[in-house]
């Protein structure tokens, strides 16, 4: 009896997660894959015809937006690393007893809705708003200068909104470094820069990797920032998917684009893991 228990126990443990995965991941994925291969229209219904051409057409029509999204995502991710690393480093090594407070401050903006915060940036960055009108009256920027409606505004929004997702994993990795390892490096005549380069940074890499996963994927597929802060030539693939799904009821195109985006992101992430020499992507990400 107890042996039987021991045999089935692991399966029982995996059951809730397994059911969750099937109901909320596998079934929607299959439905979406099916949708992407259907033909028809919303009034007369969509029927499965195995129509792969939708993928070709969708890529043909929206290649620009897809590439643009990946570029925005990549730029935002690089800026995020540059911003978040020093922040996390400072909190981890110089935060002292106030670490928890600083981390709380990093998370504080999250207590206000994401969309609301993005909209408030609209008010701040608007053409005659508190940032630009003093600069304009001082003659520092030309009267026609504007930030809203440019790629800069969209990438700024992405960086702003996803900063905590980069800070926290890097912080966790840095926090775990035993200070004695750094001391040992210094004792062996490494100057601070060398100690950072050869000891601290390699140890923090898993954190950076997790941070990249948690920011590059959502920033590339984001549609809120480009909708709210963007202009006429900043449309991202998420916006296209949303419009195809909700405005046009063109479910096959929307599903096909979602799959293409997912495939591209997966390939990107695995290629990145390969380059980084990380053997087991998920294990690192899960840490």
């Amino acid at each position: 009896m107890s042996r039987l228990k021991r045999t089935i126990a692991p399966y029982l443990l995996v059951l809730p997660g397994g059911i969750w995965l099937i109901v909320f991941f596998a079934i929607p994925m299959i439905t979406m894959l099916s949708l992407s291969l259907q033909e028809g229209d919303i009034v007369n219904g969509y029927t499965f015809t195995g129509h792969w051409q939708t993928y070709v057409d969708a890529l043909d029509d929206y290649r620009t937006q897809l590439i643009r999204s990946l570029i925005y995502g990549a730029i935002a991710t690089i800026i995020l690393i540059a911003l978040a690393f020093p922040m996390a480093y400072w909190i981890a090594f110089y935060g002292g007893r106030r670490k928890a407070t600083y981390l709380f401050l990093v998370l504080l903006p999250f207590f206000v809705s994401f969309v609301l915060r993005t909209i408030s940036w609209r008010q701040i960055l608007t053409d005659d708003g508190p940032v630009l009108s003093p600069l304009k009256s001082a003659g520092l920027v030309p009267e026609s200068f504007h930030i809203l409606g440019t790629p800069t505004a969209v990438i700024f929004g992405l960086v702003y909104n996803f900063l905590p997702f980069m800070v926290l994993p890097i912080y966790v990795a840095l926090e775990r470094i035993d200070p004695r390892v750094v001391e040992a490096a210094r004792d062996l005549y490494a100057d601070p820069a060398t100690a950072f380069r050869k000891v601290v940074f390699p140890l923090a890499l898993p954190g950076v990797f997790a941070g990249v996963l948690m920011t590059f994927v959502p920033t590339s597929s984001d549609y809120v920032n480009s909708t709210v802060l963007g202009g006429t030539d900043t449309t991202m693939i998420g916006q296209v998917i949303q419009a195809q799904y909700l405005a046009n009821s063109d479910y096959p195109t929307a599903s096909a684009l979602s799959f293409v985006l997912m495939a591209v992101l997966l390939i990107g992430v695995f290629a990145y893991a390969k380059v980084l020499g990380t053997e087991d992507v998920m294990k690192v990400a899960a840490r």
Partner: protein
């Protein structure tokens, strides 16, 4: 989730062409199970062949077994009724019918996407009355058979008080499925202090002097209409070749950097903050903005014409309380109720007599309230003169879903550039 359970014949052919080992067979059965699962996920449609006019006995058939249940559940857009709901309270006092009122409709596309699954499964959507715009989703609702045919014997006030223009709308001839809630005009709004001159025509939206300061709408129908009128075509009667020309014209405007952004309702804040100086706009929004923020934004119907759209009261076919719903619909056509509604929403009122009612009302008031109400009663944006209608065009009327998709495909690349 219906469609056939038979996998694609070519798949079957491929599967049966060579002798299979056990492992292969297992793998294949997995595959074909996936194939069947894929095929089983079809989205059911409800299209019928001749839906634009209901079968002659449809009205009788639908209404014969319907009774009053003393409850009506109303789905509407935000800012479309005084939050204190005075008209609904009056309705309850008069008829004893209870009500729930929810501002759940924000956009036609997403509203259709939200209720389509329930309606095609024949389920109640939780509302007995909904206000929908005459955009192409209106035809989607109608052609899918999602709207109850109206029994005009139950709409005496509509017959008596609705303006003539509202009884012969192209999107629903004879008001078989809908009667108007309010109408609006799409024109140009501008800030005179920024533009430095009066805006009078569509060509002003293409003026390079306003580079980066022009707002256009992201809704492809609104955008397409303006493109069509700019190339001299009447949207209502336009053809596919007109659409191409219009799209080209709009693309030029975008490529020249004149358009700042394609806006949803956000255009109004953009105009208020100086982000744009002139923009495509809906009449009532400008009226409300001026009133609530003491601004002096101008609204003009361009020389080439503007468009008029109508938001309509309709009964979803699966409504549980259609009799209560149609009673409420008719109630809004009693002149005092129509006037009281228009006072709050500031869009075009489908009941012309409400103008006199408002003036009568204003006579009892004094001070600012009186001037405001009198101004509203004389506003051509709430009660357009008969002549103004001549310069207003209706939306493009699509013959089929394919035609509507072609229209979308023509203008989508501009908005989603």
């Amino acid at each position: 989730m219906s469609a056939s359970n038979i996998p694609d014949p070519s798949l079957v052919r491929g599967l049966s062409q060579r002798r299979l080992g056990r492992r292969d067979a297992l793998r294949m059965s997995g595959l074909s199970a996936l194939g069947m699962a894929l095929a089983a996920c079809g989205v059911q449609g409800k299209g019928t062949k001749a839906p634009a006019s209901a079968a002659p006995d449809a009205v009788q058939q639908y209404w014969s077994d319907k009774k009053q249940n003393n409850l009506v559940r109303f789905a509407n857009w935000p800012l479309y009724m005084d939050p204190k709901q005075p008209e609904l309270k009056a309705f309850k006092a008069k008829t004893g019918i209870n009500f729930t009122y929810k501002e759940v409709i924000q956009e036609m596309g997403s509203w259709f996407a939200k209720v389509q699954p329930q309606l095609s499964a024949g389920q109640d959507i939780g509302y007995d009355l909904m206000v929908i715009t005459n955009s192409f989703q209106f035809s989607q609702f109608r052609d899918s058979g999602f709207l109850a045919p109206l029994d005009h014997a139950k709409l005496p006030n509509f017959a008596k008080f609705a303006g003539d223009a509202y009884k012969k709308e192209a999107f629903d001839p004879g008001n078989q499925y809908s009667i108007p809630w309010a109408s609006g005009i799409t024109g140009i709004a501008y800030d005179r202090t920024k533009t430095g001159r009066d805006i009078t025509k569509l060509a002003d939206l293409w003026d390079p002097k306003f580079k980066g300061k022009v707002g256009m709408m992201s809704d492809v129908q609104e955008l397409g209409n303006f493109g069509l009128m700019a190339v001299g075509a009447n949207p209502d009667k336009s053809s596919a070749s007109d659409w191409e020309k219009a799209a080209k014209k709009l693309q030029d405007q975008k490529d020249a950097g004149i358009v700042r952004k394609y806006y949803d309702q956000g255009y109004i804040d953009a105009l208020g903050s100086g982000e744009v100086w002139l923009t495509q706009a809906w009449s009532g929004d400008i009226y409300q903005k001026n009133l609530s923020e003491h601004r002096d934004l101008k609204f003009v119907i361009p020389e080439e014409g503007g468009t008029i759209w109508t938001d309509n009261m309709t009964i979803p076919i699966t409504a549980k309380n259609p009799v209560d719903a149609i009673t409420l619909m008719d109630f809004f056509y009693e002149v005092p109720n129509a006037a009281s509604l228009a006072e709050y929403i500031n869009y075009v009122c489908p009941v012309p007599n409400a103008q006199a009612e408002m003036r009568k009302e204003a006579a009892k008031l004094s001070g600012e309230d009186k001037t405001d109400l009198l101004a509203l009663a004389s506003s051509p944006l709430v009660f357009p003169a008969q002549a103004a209608y001549a310069n207003l065009h209706y939306y493009v009327a699509f013959e089929s879903v394919a035609e509507q998709q072609q229209f979308q495909k023509t203008f989508d690349p501009i908005v989603l550039g």
